[in-house]
């Protein structure tokens, strides 16, 4: 009998751990929706802020976050994919590949504010890009790199070795084998993992704090070297730096809501992509 109870309580504890995740997510969404939804209207998402951010909308911040995420993707997705292809398909299991893997693990653990400072030193100052979309995008791109590399490598690992051997035994070169027989199967997984990494990057504040995000710009960035407004930074200002915090609180919640919806949309893209490709491979 006591074994049965032990099992019962064990399962309950495990189930509880699972349910807590669900609860946290739904509570965050509920909290933000209930406090922010009333401030959302067409003006809010299509106009710049007015009157010291107490009125108007957050349009420049939405566009800025979109642009910076695109630059992040352009940096981190190709770099991550190529790095993963090298590590998984070409690199010998030696000191170099161990070192690279160690670097990836450690890079993943570097606090985002440190990436921000690194971005200032490298892109803003050394490359002389100044505080700009490109500096911020590159910084976020490097920060996301461990995620895209790891996700891409996992995707490559799911491709059975028999496909590689079969192709090589027919006289294909390694690159032909990868290109025609490995990548088509791995790319959906690579994309899914990379997009999830981008969703995370879109919501980061610290790395863009010194590298390009601006407190307030009424117009949109007109080049990659412009400063920009971004949703997470805007939210940070509304929540902690504004001179009249209680007045802008609903606007802060509405901003958070827009940010979360944006991130969920990005994640949804990843999920749709995954389902679409999974179907394609099952049928074909």
């Amino acid at each position: 009998m006591s074994r049965k109870y032990k099992q019962f309580f064990g399962f309950m504890a495990l189930r509880l751990a699972g349910l807590i995740v669900l609860f946290v997510l739904f509570y965050i969404i509920y909290d933000i929706v209930s406090k922010g939804l009333s401030s959302i209207n067409w003006e809010f998402i299509s106009q710049p802020p007015r009157r010291g951010m107490t009125e108007g909308g957050i349009y420049p911040a939405i566009v800025g976050t979109f642009y910076v995420t695109v630059i992040t993707a352009l940096v981190s997705v190709p770099l991550g994919m190529f790095g993963a292809i090298y590590l998984n398909e070409y690199a010998k299991k030696g000191r170099l590949s161990r070192l690279i893997r160690m670097a990836i693990r450690n890079l993943a653990g570097v606090p985002s504010i440190v990436f921000g400072l690194f971005g200032v030193a490298l892109f803003v100052q050394w490359f002389n890009f100044g505080p700009s979309l490109i500096s911020a995008g590159f910084t976020l791109g490097l920060m996301t790199l461990p995620v895209t590399i790891t996700a891409s490598e996992e995707a490559l690992k799911t491709v059975p070795d028999a496909y590689r051997k079969g192709s090589l035994a027919l006289g294909a070169t390694r690159w032909e084998t990868i290109k025609t027989n490995v990548l088509p199967l791995a790319i959906p997984g690579m994309m899914t993992g990379s997009i999830l990494g981008l969703a995370r990057a879109a919501g980061e504040t610290a790395p863009i704090l010194f590298t390009g995000a601006a407190f307030f710009i009424p117009h949109l960035p007109d080049s990659p070297f412009s400063q920009f407004m971004a949703l997470p930074y805007h939210l940070y200002i509304l929540a902690t730096q504004h001179h009249n915090i209680s007045v802008v609180r609903p606007i802060a919640y509405a901003t958070a809501l827009v940010l979360i919806v944006l991130v969920l949309l990005i994640n949804l893209t990843a999920i749709i992509l995954r389902i679409k490709y999974r179907k394609k491979f099952e049928n074909k």
């Binding site: 010998k92 059975p160 028999a162 079969g166 027919l170 006289g171 294909a172 027989n181 074909k284």
Partner: protein
């Protein structure tokens, strides 16, 4: 029977890091015959097979010494083009490994990477390869369906067809029937006998009846050594070595 030597192996040693997997192997494989390699698990017969198309190159820590001549050309000499070697020496694996593509694209894969783009030429190759592997009648109406929907035996014949499509001289088979049921196995065996009219076949098998049924010559491997290599009748009826007799009569292994 044709007695021309196709593959000549001299003093072949193979190491995986510090482990010696093959010890001083000498063997002559005759053209258009079926050569069977038998022996207990881990005896080196699959390693030997992979030496013949340099698939061991892919295994980290593998090192090869000695000479493997195919048509009087040492395939381990510097500057050997592994790509054209593997085109000439095809391989079929233990587990059928069709690519997750259509039947047609599986067969056309090899010809395509070797530069054939012309559609009618590819159609010809696909049809011929599938006919040679005795699969054509079963799949001719569904060439564009997934190769993964075929049965295990059909998949293995597809893999044979895929190997034939690049027009090899030699076909290496690593226990090609061990994952198949008896009916599929006997079809593969019949197929091998037909193929031996045009190809030199080297097959690794765990199944001694299979070796006895289909092969012209048999080599018995034990602990990395080639204990005995002779005509199949001789190996199974009056082997020269006690160890060979012990193995084929089931006293060990």
């Amino acid at each position: 029977m044709n007695n021309k030597t196709k593959v000549k192996v001299e003093n072949l040693n193979c190491f995986y890091d510090d482990f010696q997997a093959l010890k001083d192997i000498n063997m002559e494989i005759k053209s258009k015959e079926i050569t069977a390699l038998i022996g207990p698990s881990g005896c080196g017969k699959s390693t030997f097979l992979r030496c013949l198309n340099r698939m061991n190159d892919l295994i980290e820590g593998a090192r090869i010494e000695g000479i493997v001549c195919i048509d009087d050309y040492d395939i381990y000499q510097n500057g050997t083009d592994v790509v054209s070697l593997r085109k000439k020496v095809g391989m079929v694996f233990q587990q059928p490994n069709p690519f997750p593509k259509s039947i047609y694209d599986n067969i056309a894969y090899g010809p395509r990477i070797h530069g054939i783009k012309d559609r009618s030429r590819l159609n010809e190759i696909v049809e011929k390869s599938l006919k040679n592997s005795a699969l054509w009648e079963e799949v001719k109406d569904r060439l564009d369906t997934s190769a993964l929907d075929l049965s295990g035996g059909q998949q293995q014949r597809l893999c044979i067809a895929r190997a034939l499509a690049v027009e090899p001289d030699i076909l290496l088979m690593d226990e090609p029937a061990s994952a198949l049921d008896p009916v599929a196995t006997s079809r593969i065996e019949d197929l091998m006998k037909d193929l031996a009219e045009n190809y030199t076949i080297v097959i690794v098998t765990h199944n001694m009846q299979q070796a006895a049924r289909i092969s012209d010559r048999t080599g018995f491997f034990l602990m990395g050594e080639l204990i005995e290599f002779d005509r199949t009748e001789t190996i199974f009826e009056k082997p020269a070595q006690q160890k060979t007799e012990d193995y084929i009569t089931g006293r060990f292994g």
